[in-house]
């Protein structure tokens, strides 16, 4: 029964998938190859496509593998499976947070615990950026030029302070906007292809 297997398998991934996209993909791989839903080669392709299409990587993988294994119904069941545990667990956490946060906002222990957690989060994001700097993502020198350009544009608002609503603010807003930066780099890629 491929539908039930798909749903339960992704439900399991949703429950035990700590540590974000890449950690979750390694979990998905186990069941996917065991049940033979896709080949190993297809799996690698799906991970690549999930990274370059909109949306959460784990969700994209679930939808794609679900569709390959069980058509439209399979894609819906796999996607629901990976989201449902999050709904349950996050709603419990939100309830606790609302209660604790409003009462403990000035409590020194709570303030310090949140500081340490925030520090860890920033380190985890840095770690994600560093691990993604692989030869697959950065095949040549031009990749690093693009990286540098986008990085500088993106951090400009941290170092340059402008008045809300001024021309400078709007210009800074535009050149540091993630969507514009991604579209611009896509256009550069297309242009480089067209002129050879």
């Amino acid at each position: 029964m491929v539908y039930l297997q798909l749903f339960l398998s992704f439900l399991k991934v949703g429950f035990i998938g700590f540590g974000g996209g890449m950690a979750i993909i390694s979990l998905i791989k186990e069941d996917v190859l065991r049940y033979g839903w896709v080949t190993e080669q297809e799996f690698v392709d799906i991970v690549a496509i999930s990274q370059v299409t909109p949306g959460p990587i784990g969700m994209n993988c679930a939808t794609y593998i679900g569709y390959t294994a069980g058509g439209f119904a399979g894609s819906v069941l796999a996607s629901l499976g990976i989201i449902l545990p999050s709904l349950l667990i996050m709603l419990i956490i939100c309830r606790l947070y609302d209660r604790i946060h409003d009462k403990w906002q000035d409590n020194q222990v709570f303030v310090w615990v949140m500081r340490v957690i925030r520090l860890l989060v920033v380190f985890l994001i840095a770690h994600a950026a560093i691990t993604l700097m692989s030869p697959a993502t950065f095949p040549d020198g031009w990749s690093w030029v693009l990286f540098g350009g986008v990085f500088v544009c993106s951090v400009l608002p941290v170092f340059i302070h402008t008045e809300q609503g001024s021309v400078g603010h709007r210009v800074l807003d535009a050149v540091s906007h993630p969507i514009y930066l991604i579209l611009l780099c896509g256009a550069v890629g297309l242009l480089s292809y067209l002129i050879g």
Partner: protein, 139 residues
């Protein structure tokens, strides 16, 4: 508590936009969520945003979905959760379905590869820049 309460429609459209334009998963999404939720609408301040990311990471599951649940719940209760999660996953669900149906024919085209070759370093740069943008708000 945050002073600004959005309408469900604004919340849905904002998360639909975030879902549609986030390439590269949860960490890449941070930059856009921060811009919309903190800078533009001021639904959360920087500290609350980092708390949200911390809790979304501490829980199992997808970072993008977890943070959508937190924000939806904080701003509009269970209705907010429903619109945020739907908005966050709907674009990727539709796009992946379309790709799964027909992408196998086009994925090896040199033009497609050339475009993504330049987008990938940009995605990594956006993630790295998020570290700089958030670092001063840790304390």
């Amino acid at each position: 508590m945050s002073a600004n309460k959005p309408s469900l429609r604004t919340l849905f459209l904002t998360y639909l936009k975030i879902g549609a334009f986030t390439i590269g998963g949860g960490y890449a999404m941070l930059a856009l969520v921060e811009r919309e939720v903190v800078d533009r609408y001021r639904w959360l301040d920087e500290k609350e945003f980092l708390n949200m990311m911390a809790l979304a990471q501490a829980a199992p599951g997808l970072l993008a979905v977890n943070s959508a649940i937190f924000l939806g719940h904080r701003l509009c209760g269970w209705r907010g959760v429903a619109v945020c999660v739907t908005g966050a996953v709907l674009p990727s669900f539709v796009v992946i379905l379309l790709i799964a149906m027909c992408f196998s024919r086009y994925k090896n085209l040199p033009a497609v590869e050339a475009v993504f070759r330049c987008i990938r370093p940009a995605v990594v740069a956006l993630i790295a820049a998020t570290v700089v943008r958030l670092a001063k708000h840790i304390w």
